[in-house]
Symmetry: D2
Subunit: 400 residues, 4 copies
């Protein structure tokens, strides 16, 4: 019986060429699966047809925007997910979503293999394959670019040879991955890490240095995720989409960094993530108001590990699930409103209010009405300091 390969299909040159290539190389039937993760600007029906034109026996496109927002971006908000304290995991979040749909398509269409377009030096191959192994260990993975040393030049020659219906333009100088949560750009001249990014790189964000009016909004959170903007209840996708527009228009969310890839090398990355950066700023401050101190301190290590796991392709790992149990418990009081000013590339919290607040005006105020009993402090200070004091006495005794 002919084997069937489920291909993560983007509609671009590489994955289009992969259809006849895999069919030929493996003697297999190819099923193309394309997802709308909010990357924008694409006609999904046209993509579906293109796969068929390239020889796919089945071609599926799915609108996964709400699923992506709700099940992938929102958990990242709850985990304050910033890899290396900066990168909001744009591509890392969409890969496990795609993996879920690939595994489902394999089940539906009888696929035994799954193919993706990743190279062997990036993170995404790990995210695809680790995810697939976890969801269905019987599936085998194929990555033409990596496993058959497939290059762009080879792809173009193959497309011409086969007469594929693909417009091969001059090489786009940028390698781009984008979705609802943000946009990643790599390009040759940025590989010299002393070079600054240029304005031409950006698509989600306006130039933050152009003078314009500030935008102010109020975000409502429930259980650690946003549910409304300015009092208007919105779906997860709508919230992120609106914030991408409003924060993007103010130049919020540009990032330029050197990053540690899982495969062991450092790479230069430029990102835009307007909604992500704005939402994370709002969420973190609401946690400051509603999460108890010891819990907040430990949650930093949980959040860091969550981000590392997701970056490292381990979305479906037992540890991530357990970290999320911790996070869920910690988020149940993260309710309330955060007022945010978006302006000049900055997303600044200017107010917060919550029915779950742990900020106690009566204890905090220095005005009349202060209920804090200062007489307790002396004993606290003395015992708090006692271990260091005893160590100091020892050190002085021993002359060190």
């Amino acid at each position: 019986m002919t084997e069937r390969v489920v291909l993560a299909y983007s509609g671009g040159l590489d994955t289009s060429v992969a259809i006849p290539f895999l069919a030929e190389k493996m003697g297999a039937e190819v099923i193309a699966v394309a997802l709308d993760c909010g990357q924008g600007g694409e006609d999904m029906e046209q993509i579906r047809q293109r796969a068929l034109d390239c020889g796919a026996v089945e071609s599926v496109v799915e609108d996964a925007k709400e699923e992506f927002a709700r099940d992938f971006c929102f958990p990242a908000i709850r985990a304050n997910a910033l890899y290396m304290d900066r990168y909001p995991l744009v591509s890392a979040l969409s890969r496990p979503l795609i993996v879920k749909h690939l595994a489902a398509a394999a089940a539906r269409f009888g696929g035994t293999h799954v193919a993706h377009g990743c190279t062997g030096k990036g993170n995404d191959q790990v995210r695809f394959e680790a995810g697939l192994m976890a969801l269905n260990p019987d599936l085998k993975c194929v990555a033409p670019a990596r496993d058959y040393a497939w290059t762009r030049d080879k792809a173009i020659a193959f497309a011409e040879e086969k007469g594929l219906p693909i417009e091969v333009s001059g090489k786009n100088p940028y390698s781009i991955d984008q979705n609802l949560w943000g946009r990643a750009v790599e390009t040759g001249f940025l590989e010299d890490i002393w070079n600054a990014p240029i304005e031409d790189l950006y698509a989600y964000t306006a130039d933050p240095s152009v003078p314009r009016e500030a935008d102010e909004l109020v975000i409502t959170f429930e259980n650690g995720v946003p549910t409304a903007i300015d009092g208007r209840p919105l779906t997860p996708f709508q919230i992120i989409d609106e914030l991408n527009k409003r924060a993007g228009a103010q130049g919020v969310g540009r990032l330029d960094m050197v990053e540690d890839r899982l495969v062991g090398i450092k790479s230069r990355e430029v990102y835009e993530a307007p909604a992500a950066i704005a939402l994370l700023a709002a969420h973190q401050e609401l946690e400051n108001v509603t999460v108890e101190r010891d819990l907040a301190r430990f949650k930093r290590s949980v959040d860091q590990r969550w981000g590392e796991l997701v970056y490292d392709g381990l979305w479906f790992s037992p540890l991530k699930t357990a970290l999320e149990s911790f996070i869920a418990e910690a988020q149940q009081h993260v309710n309330g409103d955060v007022r945010l000013t978006l302006h000049g590339g900055r997303a600044v919290v200017t107010g917060r209010r919550s029915g779950s607040s742990l900020y106690d005006y009566d204890l905090a105020t220095y005005d009349t009405g202060d209920t804090f009993d200062q007489s307790l402090a002396k004993g606290f200070v003395d015992l708090w300091s006692l271990p260091s004091k005893i160590a100091s006495v020892r050190d002085r005794r021993n002359g060190s």
Copy 2:
């Protein structure tokens, strides 16, 4: 013999009044010690004289600006010190410096007690007293505001009664602490955490929303600390001072947050720290380039703990010393230049170069010359994913 009390003297109302009060209450001689930690705008000689006029038997003022920059601010840079990922520890850093000088003055002048002006609900009392216990466990601490429930109104009445040479103006609406590393502002209307800060609060930073030309500079780091700006070698104080001016002029470094105090309450704080925020951004990115991944990941927990300890008054604790040994090892390769654009409230890294770089163009590039062996990836991905895969097989077998 008359006891001698060494007083941490600021020149302001509270500590001026404390001089005759402590003399009277304790039957003691008061030695006033005032430090210039770069707070600016003060005539230190005038402060010295004022203490004598208030009845101090000795009055010492010391220029501690370079010491503060080198021994307190620079270690904070190496530790990427941001309490709760935001606050660069402005007051928390100056307290142990003051403590050192108080302990030295006690030794020099035969003091048996040390007095400070802190209340019983803040962090600074802990920083003073924990530090003093560590440096000289025989010293006893007195805090009139806390231990004798001393208030501003009492202080004014006492000053008038004693005819102290202090100008009592109308109540300043702001409670301010400032030094070279930044400025902290608390005030009544900010105790409603929904209220936004107003422009009038700020002194170190210009309004970031006013259009102006960007400022670009290159900071050179050696062993994790800045040593030059635009190629000009500068002292630690000079570097921070220049950056306060240049980053402050661009509105960089404003912070508004709800914060977990050590004494167990949450409080609202507004900070300005232009140099600190700019230097920390530059340092973190240089670490991204020069510090190996596993080391960088673990260093996050070390940095977090360092910041907590310093915030919590444990500057002189054995754990902080041990964390700094770790950090020192990690910083030996943090050498090189970082190009920074200061503009519109943002301090943005646009380039980095280092003789200690771990970024390897040949491994990272997608252009010709790539030396990364992609054939290694398949084995890596499979074994990396194996534990999650085995768990997944188990879970599917057991129907969960």
Copy 3:
């Protein structure tokens, strides 16, 4: 109206004397609450009567053995709870149980204060008062020994003066706290930490050096807690009780250590905890078999923090609850049997089997049937080592 004080009553001298003392000092009515936490050897009805004889207006005794085992000891097993890697939190676990019953008694009898017999230099005062503040912040705490500097001599004199029905024997040389989970002994001669414990200290354990037959048993775990011994389903109390007897008879569970108290000092403690040590050994090994590696590694830090929090009196803290959500997720596969040999002071695991095992014979074996694909290893090793290699190349280049 007369205030009512709920007293944590042990039946011993100190808390018996506290009844008339508190009644007199505070002009209050005293309600005595005594719990059976499995400490053994006490006639609870006699204790109930004694409190009334001493002047209590109400006296309640409760059998809390199953509650203690199920809700306090079992969570400690799931968290592998060993403070400082040694101490299984014997007293630390019973205090929050007592606190729950005190708070309930206060609600039932209209108590406004709660009293306990702890001193001011131990951990238990924190466990009582932190717990009470969390369960009912309106309750006020009284600790005669601490707050009124009450000593044993004072207590005896007071008892004689009041003619209390208490038999005052010669001073027991040992200070003992014991419950189902173990027994803690402090005594004067052990305060010299060079002195060895003597056989006379022990009550739960036989001398391990006496030759006897080994005892072998199989413990069944479900979701991380024991549910049967040798196939006999037992209640939580029954399991711990049987293991105390069987492991105690083999001398298992003696501990002698210097320990960091929360109040900042180090103290010498001798413990016996036969069931605890045996159950923890079995549980840890079953986790080795059933918990995925990354999850197991992170759980170590979760377990450590859980133990610190419980030791430090924060049983009812938000962080502990969140840590337990993590642990609950991690324990769902900790099912199966562990064979244990108890002998000569050792509890040794000799076999484990589980339907949730992640040990895969086919992958692990070096015999025929090995399914591990060794060809994957080379790529894994090379990329695993790459960051260290790149750092090494840098260091050699820079001559360090």
Copy 4:
């Protein structure tokens, strides 16, 4: 020019056969390097000659016992190194030592390749190759068992074909690795993890259940490492060697566990490590006496990470070096004596004394002379508990 391969030579069948195999396969000259790491029972000169007889062009044997003890075992003591809280890293410690000597031999003899006998499913391949990449990234690694799917049967056939001077006995049922720090045993029947180990497996330890007289000794530590036994100054090797004998004679140090390998599988291991287990028990207790609480708590995470790194083959990584800087600082006060009773499989600390002790009798005692000021406790308890109390008030208000 003929390539030269440096082979990690054990004298056994596999590595003896590797000499002519590598010579033939690679057309290379083989240099054999064998180390005495204290494995005992071997005539090193005979091993040296055997390599030559098998065709090595050079054969080197080195006595690395003191180096192993001082530079590899002693750092493990300072780090309380127990992987998964149990395994003292026996093989994991010797591999980087061997790697150092292999790299040195490669430099000395002009070797371009290094060969070792590890399979592709164990940890040791990673330890060899990660170490070699760090010490000399230009060296290439060869592992015949892994890279050429070399098996025992093939090896025997090859040995017979080549007439190698190796006595091929019937298959030893045990796979053994041993050195000064301990002994690891794997064997077919233990791959069923329900099977118990049998007495025949053990060589370093006597049966702990046999009645015998206890052995008591005093170990002196300086800076966290042992320097004398019973007052006799000894070298690092001598200390470990003597303790292996004395603790081994009492049956101390047997371990039986399921362990997480780096390559992603779980395996069953039986270990004996008498000296290691005894020294670690003594060291941990001396840390309890001499290390400040916060430092000790954080050091647990440092120690755990150190053990993971060493287990995972990253001895020469930048993170391990930085962790050791932390540890070195923490160990400077770990000085003093520990009295240990070795008996019946247990190594029990019965006394400790130290000039660097933080145990303060005057603060700890409940007898006359107590200097602890109990009046400080109330304030400490109240502020310590305040965050949980505020959270509890919030939760009750919100009905959760």
